[in-house]
Each structure stands twice: as C-alpha cells, then as structure tokens.
Symmetry: D2
Subunit: 345 residues, 4 copies
C-alpha cells in the first residue's frame, strides 16, 4: 500500500535526522531559549527580510492555532475564519475551548473573500446591539487553504487593508506554506509576508520536519508580549525546545525547505494531469500538493487496492470527492505507479 | 414615545409587585431552597403534569442558556442550534466562553428542521475523522423562535425522536414560552412539554415578571445532578432566591401567566392585521407577540415620531425590516394609537 | 424562628419596593442604559466625589467578581486574594471557570497584609522561571472581609502603593460595604475610595436592595473599556436593567444606604456586647454586622430553639464557632429577644 | 560548562534516534493509530501486567496533565494536589485555563499525606454549604515528586483507599517515573501500579526520549472514553503519532527504560554522598535523580564556574537551596568532575 492519504505519513527529511543525531549530546537550556532556536530564528528573519520579527516554535498546528488566537483575543472577541478553515471544522473545537467563537464566513474555494470580510465587519459595527454580539477581534486565513488553493498577493493586500481599517490582526496559518510558495501560480514570496500579515506560521510537520511550526510575529505592536507564558499554559512549550530549533535550522539551510516542497508540488501536478487526462473533474482547482479529483465508485475501488487516499463521506451519490497528497517524502516512482494505474481506469 | 421595541420595557405585573410587598419581611434561607421556590416548583409540576420534574430558577435568559448547556456537555461536545438562534448570535459568545462550540444549522423561519438535524448528525457520525470534529452533544431550540414562529407538536416529536436515536438531550429555550402557548396556531400545551423535550425553561422576564426563568428538567436520567453548583459557579444562583419563587408562584396562580400572554398576543395580531391591511409585507409570518413588518423609509420615519420599535441595520435598500413587540404590559389604547397611525401611512 | 443566619433573609427596604411600584409602568430601554441607571450613576459619582467614575450594575456578588476579574486579566494571569476570600473558597470555582487561578495568600483576620503582598509579588518577579508561573495580574480584597473586619485607610494605602509599583489594579469587593462604612472603627469614607482602589463595588443585595451590586471603576486607564460585552457574555447583563438603577437611586437618596447599614451595625454590636458579657470568646474581633462568637454545644442547642444562625462544621471539639448577622432588616425587638436568651445561657 | 540543571538538557538515547532513522520512510496513518503505537501499547500492558490498560501518547508533561484532568472533571469540580505539585505552581495555570481549580493541600516532603487528604474530603462533604465550594473530583500526585521523593506502596494504598471511598480517580504524574522505580527505597513496581492508581503516565521526555509521555488508564470505568477528541481539542494529538510509538517501543525493549534511569539514579547518589561528605545539608532527602543540597554563596559561586545547576531565588539568606539533576544522559566522568570540585569546596 502506497500512501497518498496525507502529507504526514513519513518521518522527516534525512538531513533533519542527521542534525538531531549530530547535536544529540549537546547540553542546552530547555524551553526554546537555546542557540539552535536563536539561530533558526535568525535564518527565518533573514529569509523574510525582517530582522525584528519574533519567532516562536511550537509542535503542531492545532496547538499553534489555539495558542496564537487565545493570545490575541480579548474575552468578548472571536476570530473570523471561513467555514472550511481548519479552526472551524477540524480541531474539535480547540478555539472555542479557549473561550472564543469562530465567526464563520462561507469560503470561496477555501478562501476568505475580501468583500465578504468587509461586509461582515461593516455589519457588525453598524449594528447598534453589538454589545450582544461577539466582536470580531482578528482574522484567520490559511494558505495554502485546506483545499489546496493559494491566496494571491492582491488578495492578501485587500484583506490586510481591511484589517488595518478595523485595527485587527491578520493571522495566516501556513501549515502547508512551503507547498504554496512552491506553486507556479504563487506570487507571494518570503519577503512579502511581513507586509501582508501580522502573524503567520511556517509549517514544519507537513513540510519535511518530524514536527514543528514556526510562528512569526511581524507586527510592530509587540503582539507576542505574553506569548511565551500562554504557550506554556496551553501545553505548547516543548521542554527540549532545541529539537524545534534544530529542525528549522536545517530546513532553512541551503534552501532545503523550498527544494523539498517544490519537488512535492511537481509530483502533485503530475498526478493532477494524469487525472485530468482521463477526464476526471476536481472538487477545486488546486495548484499545490493536495489534489481533489472526483472519482466514480469503481475507480475508487480499483485505486484503493494499492493506494491509500482520503474519500469524502459517502453521500449516496455515484461519484465521491477524494484527496491525494504528495509531500517532501513522495518518490517519483510512487507517483509513476499511481499514474500508471490511473491511466488504466 | 410609546415602546413597542421589546417585551421587557416595563417592570412586572402588579400582582407580582403585590406579592413581593406582602412577603417582604418573611425570613427565608437563601439560594432558592425556600418555601416559595418549593411552592412554585409544585405549581409548575402540576401545570405540566409531571410530579418528578425538577425546577431551578435563574435570573435571565443568557445566564440560563449558558448554565444549562455547560452543565450538559462534555468538553469535546458542542450544541446544535440554528444560525438565527439566540445562543448563536445574540449572547456575545456566552456558550463559547464556557468552552463549547455552537454548531450552527441554517434556520427555516427561525426553526430547526428535523431533516437538517438528521442529516447533520448522520454526517458527523459517518465521518471517520470525527475525533477531529466537535461532537454534537445536545440540541438547542427556542419556541417561540427569535422571529416569533412556533414549533408544532409534530415538529417537536420529530426532533425528539432524532435526539433519542442519537442519545442527546433536547433543550427548549422558552424565554417567550407564554406567547407561544397563547398563539392560535399552537398545538403544544403544558402537559405535552415533558414528552417533547428533556429540558426547557419558562420565561418570566418577558412574560410578566421583573426577571426570572424557570428551568424544568423532565428527563429520567437525572441530568440536573450537578446543576446547582454549576449555577453557583456561573454566577446564576440568586442570593434571595425566594424572589424568583414568589414571582413564579404568582404567575402560576389563577392562570395569570396564560392570561397576560394571551392578551399580549391578541394585541400583536391586531397590529399585524393593521400592517397587512395597508399592504405591508412581513419578514416572517409570526403568530406571536413579535411582528416583523417590512416598512419603507418614509413609514419608518413617520412611525418613529411617536413609537419606539426595532429597525434592522441599514443595508442601503429602500425597505427595512422592523420589529414591533407587545407584552403583558401593552395596553389596548397604546395599540389603538399605533394602529391609527398605521392606517394613515 | 428568628433569622440571624445571614444578611439576605428578607426582601428589600420598603422604599425600594415603593420605587419599583411607582416606576412600574414607565417604559425604558433595556440593559442598563435607562434614566434610572444614569441617575443612580450620577448619585454614586457625587457620593464618592468623582464625576468621571464609570458605574455598571450587576445582580449578584459571584457574578460581579467573575465579570470584573475576567475583564481585567490576560490569559496567563491570575488574581491575588486571601485564602478566606469569597473568590477563593465560596464561589464554586467561578474565577477558575473563567480560566484564571486565584493566587491564595494566607489571610490575617480576613485581610491581605501588605507585607505578604509585597513579598509575593517580589518573589514572583525575582523567579527567573516565571514564565512557568501564573503572573499576578490584579489584587482582590473584600472590605468588610468575610469575617467582618475592615481595612483601615493606612492598610489600603499600602496595598494601593504596592499595586501601583507593580502596575496591577486593586479591586475591592464591597458586598457588605455599607456595614464597613458604618463601623465605628472605620476611617475610609466614600470620597476616599477612588483614591484607594481602582475598582470596587457597592453591595446592594446585603444592604437593603432586593438584589444588585454597583461596580465603580475609578481608574484613569479606561479599564472598563470592554466591560459591557463581557457582562453580557457572562450572563450578568439584566434585561430590565432599570431595576438596578431604581434600587441604587433609592439607596443613594437621603442617605438611605448609610442609615440602614448604621442601624444594622449598632444592633450587631449590642449582640457582641451581650455575648462578651457572658464571657464568650470570638473567632475574630468584628466591628461590623457579622459576629462570630465561639459557643459551647449546650448554648448552641439552646439558642437554636428560637434562632437561626450559622454553625461551623463539627470538628469534634467542645466549642464551635458560629456566625450571627444583623442586616438593614433586623428589628431591635428581634435583637432584644436574642440578648435575653443569651443572658440566660 | 556541564549541565546538572535539569534532566532534559540533551536529546534522546541513541537507540531511539536509531529507531527513528530506521523507520523514517515507513508510511503510517497519523494521530497515534499506527502499528508502532499499538506495539508500544502492548509492551506497556505487558510490563504492568494489565492487558486491558488503555494507553495514549502525548508530547509533554503540562499538556498531559491538563488533558487528563480536563477529561476527568465535571465543570464544578477541581483537582486535589499538593502546593508544591507541578500543576499547582509550575504550569502557568494550565489547569485553571481549562476551567478547574487546583485544590491545594500543603505538601509533606513533596507528598500528599493520606491523613490530610482524608480530612480535606471529609470537611468538604461535611460542609452543608458545599454547593458553594469546588467539589474535589480527583486527586493528582507525582512520583517521584518535584523534590525527588517517592511514594511508598503503603502510602499509595492509603491514598487509593480514600479515593475509592469518595469515588474519585487517583492520577499519578510519572514525568520522572523511571527514576522513582530505580530508587533503592522504592517498593512500588510496574505490576503494582494498576492496582494503586486509576491513571498514570510514564515520562519519556525526562527519561531517555526526545519527548513523549505515555498515559495509562487502568480503571475499569472506561475513564478514557472521550480522551482522544479531548487530546485533539487541547492541541495534544501529534500528527505523526508514530514518533511517540517508536520511542516507547524502544524504551520498553530490553528494559532500556529501567537500565538508563537506574544508571542516572546511581550517579545522583554519588553526588549526594559527595555533598553529604562535605557536611552540606539538603532541602529534602531525595533518593532519586534530583538532589537539593543547601549551599553557601561561596560554594555556589565556585561550582557555577564549571557547572550549571538551579539556584533557589535569592531570599537574602547566607545559604540557598540548589538543585542538581542527573539523567539518562549523564556520564560518569561528568559526575566525577563535579565531585572533585565538591571535595575542594
């Protein structure tokens, strides 16, 4: 069985394991204040061209989302996100468990439209009963989105402008950031990010690391003032913090992060093309490492013999949406094998 | 200025004030374990024909909703409700502040359709990633709804049957219960309630009392086992609990509750007919004390000279939805005056 | 049975009921923005000599404590209070339920000593692992305390000075404020309060009202910026807010609040003297409306025939602490009757 | 500089890194349902002699404590623990942030005395105002404790008996479990644990792993019924769950866990003896890997030249408590070097 089910089916890029082995007996202070974390922070600052960005390392995505959001909101505020966003539907209510509502706006291909955002905020502040309504205190987006799409620079600029107007921070979940940067459609590069969002994170778990997400605060209001004690409180401060530092050091050395995610996206596009060539339609047109072909039941059954992939819950219809992911670990031969099978469907 | 803006613009029915004056120097234990609370509980048990119902008295609606819901859910669970439901949009995230998500289903005229509920629950349990999704742990409905509509007996039976199947409690917010019972379209009576829902509350604040909601647990699983300490924790246990007992004693003596809410509904229907006679349309067809005529800007301006009523936030359109409420305190002359004005629009 | 068990065994001062009756059919907007609340606010501002104090009205003490504290703390912060404080031990974890730890310091006769406070704060900031420890974000005290003692002006000045130094607000729970002001030992008067604390509340429930606490923000940092939506979220915003306004208007007209609490304290001191004259010792020397004589079991049994009072949980000892409360509603004849009984013990 | 500051200054035991390298390209499902987790679970079941124990793997200690406790308590309940316990003072209020109070009992050498526990529970239930007090819903202990002491079998039996009587679960934080098992004073062995506690965890982070704690539910009431969705909600479900499985597989193969913790304890006792030989006193008599000599300032200064260790916050006294930790990674030569220095103090 070959896994295309998700982008976290393997361990880590071998260079990361090498680095862990090499540094194993170094003695460092705990909790992320060691030299590896400092060095990783510096490499990230250089990459994004912002030497005063503050970087914090956490283990996983849900943990990162809940910690960032809980640290930014006041008790009566909620976070705006699209209905298909990870925090809206796939974190078992992690945000609500910190006391805050996710204010859901219907997504357009996984994205938050700036028109809808503007209308939502305007309506809130126009309503003179707004003391009775959750105040929108920040905006959450993910790019690539949960359905593989990527925000354009222009889209992010619009969102940022609206957030500025309403004086609320814009937070970008970059759990798959590398795959977005590697997309051919992408026009948002590392050095653009600090101008486009207030906080974002660079996904490690799905992009070559064993685990780890690097949260980057780019704002000039010291928004991460209380981030470390809140990390600790939420269970997100890793004792051996240097494990995170070492992994991001490795990923940000010799452009490893970009290289491996670019390779993954290229493999995904080969898959996409193979499905397209056979006339299959897609749930959404994704330029990144996740592909969502809509398959008939027979094709699903055939492919399931040798390959693992996600199938949407059975809704009684003849065709079901599916998800095939590549990752930094996907080998060309694995994709070749799948393509061969697709061609015979 | 005559108020039709809400159903809590005045104090309380005079008999309630009389009772408070009469009992004022009685000495009773605090926190709702006094004879008046016991007596009110008995009167409610008799009214609904269920001698083992457990009754708890709280001060207000948001407080009641958050206390009931927090007491019934496990940490990973949320409460299903319609998007126009009070807990979804008009309580400043009170439910989320207790750690739980409101799982919003689009309303149909303010109501939760049993088809949509069934589909929602089925989808949840069919999804094999459901550990990552908030588990639906109970269902919240309000009747009358926030737009004045009332559930039929058949609708409630369907909802209850689905809740039974999925073993989750059904909770009815009856902040305006009296106005629903008094509606001509209503076919759900006091003695039906224990068979149709697991928990409900009888609104006092909007139905003749100074304040107060009587929560009635009708389930046979002892669902209110921990309700009193949770009431205390959430700030909802009134020191002079007898104030609630005395008010509900009064409301449930000589059918005062029904009489005053019936009168209010009749006045509301007179208003409805007056608007209809002039050709105005309505946001929704409401048989209870809230009426939602859609008025042109000129009519709004004219009526606003002498009457207070709610106007939907300005959306740039020529016509805006409005809300006119009657209550137990509304006088026929006040309605006459408004009708006279409507007729001249 | 005559109740000395608590100071909330009766309804309200008759003038309050009169005012409720008189205003009953006035129509006002809900949620505390009516003229009565505005007027009560003005009367309180005048009383304390601070025309820019902001006043918010809530129903009960636990609700007030949790709302004020939740509105002032950041997620990683806790509130300092003594171990015998109401929030530490008698609110079923209401503060923790909002996510914050109560940082308990051992009380001295119910009070927080400034030395202990200073040491606590110094230790916290001296500890270089303090990211792992709850940050003290505010200080809670009550005066009179739960055991009837009253802070002197000098004590409050010391506490305030320390809070200033550490830039954290000082919050005074005045659930029984009137009884403290009326104590002969008291040297803190209305106009001192704004200089001594950042936020305090004036207890109504135990001092003549049916219910109600007036929270007064005296700080110059706009600390109540988000107080109203948080009140709503926590279930503490009363629909008919004017009921609170009317009650405080009455209490602050013609010095009613002072008159009735002074009378109560005088009756309490008569009780104290009667117990003292018979040689009984006291748990603490209280100059206010709560008295804590330590009684032998036989005396307890005798007095229990005709009087209700609190008895400390049985610890197997021969003598047990008890609590006798007077209140605005206590009649001299009731006290006479109890004294007569004491004299025969 | 040689680190004796903590037991998490290095990476992981080399065999763990080997295992991670060896399994790196295996493809497994995420979130802890892979074969490695299943295998690790089986090894743990065998080790403790309880084939129906349920095992869940988390990343760190604070995360584990908050997840277990939040999953076991009802909203109005708190967790009993000693004042020096990790959850009481070193997790930035992680438990309170889930809504629950830590009910602190003064420790005796880091331990919870069964007499004090019994008295606490008895008092709670004897108090007829207990609706107003946080209900003790479970008991938390750590062994070894935060000051290195270890519970005896008899002590645990007493605690368990009391918990049984009051029908509340007993939870043992075993962040340093291995070092306790390896202590010469210890009389609690693997197969005793299921009989002595309801839930415990086996610390990996401090005992040879890169990170990871294995939570073991031994109760027969299905207490972990909702554990997985709550893990997810709290951010504790690792995407590549197999990383935890692989580490615990390794630790529980060929008794690696016991071997490396035994070695660490022996080194610690050599340190202890060296300090004792020079006449230093200890904060507490610890038989495990943490030693707490009380040192004069000059000795502290001298040792600080070459060694890192924890020093208690400066309290102005001549002598200060310190902590020296050994770990699975401590080399005999490092200890030799420190001992040589001690001998010259």
């Amino acid at each position: 069985m070959i896994y295309f089910q998700c982008d976290y089916a393997e361990g880590a890029h071998p260079r990361i394991l090498d680095a862990l082995v090499k540094t194993n007996f170094e003695q460092t202070p705990g909790y992320g204040v060691d030299v590896h974390c400092q060095n990783a922070c510096k490499l990230i600052q250089e990459k994004i061209g912002k030497s005063d960005a503050r970087v914090h390392f956490l283990v996983g995505g849900t943990q990162t989302n809940l910690t960032v959001i809980a640290s930014l909101l006041k008790p009566h505020q909620g976070v705006i996100g699209v209905d298909t966003g990870h925090i809206s539907c796939h974190e078992t209510g992690a945000i609500e468990a910190t006391g805050h509502k996710v204010l859901q706006i219907p997504a357009e291909d996984g994205k938050l439209s700036s028109d809808k955002l503007q209308a939502f905020l305007k309506n809130y502040w126009a309503d003179d009963t707004h003391e009775h309504i959750v105040e929108p205190g920040m905006v959450y987006i993910s790019s690539p989105t949960e359905v593989g799409t990527v925000y354009t620079k222009k889209e992010l600029e619009s969102l940022k402008q609206i957030c500025r107007k309403y004086q609320i921070p814009l937070f970008l979940d970059g759990a798959r950031l590398g795959y977005g940067l590697a997309s051919e459609e992408n026009d948002v590069f590392w050095k653009d990010l600090p101008n486009l969002v207030d906080v974002f994170y660079i996904g490690g778990t799905k992009c070559g690391a064993l685990f780890g997400e690097a949260v980057v605060f780019c704002d000039d209001q010291n928004l991460d003032r209380h981030f470390r004690p809140i990390m600790k409180q939420k269970g997100g401060m890793l004792a051996k913090g240097r494990l995170l530092g070492i992994q991001f050091e490795t990923l940000f050395t010799e452009d490893l992060y970009e290289k491996i995610t670019t390779q993954a996206v290229q493999e995904a596009l080969r898959l996409r093309d193979a499905f397209k060539a056979k006339g299959f339609e897609f749930l959404v047109d994704s330029p990144t490492n996740q592909q969502f072909p809509i398959l008939d039941r027979k094709s699903i059954e055939t492919l399931s013999q040798k390959f693992a992939f996600m199938i949407w819950p059975d809704n009684g219809e003849e065709k079901l949406a599916t998800r095939f992911c590549t990752s930094w670990a996907t080998k060309s031969e694995q994709v070749d094998e799948l393509i061969a099978e697709i061609q015979q469907l």
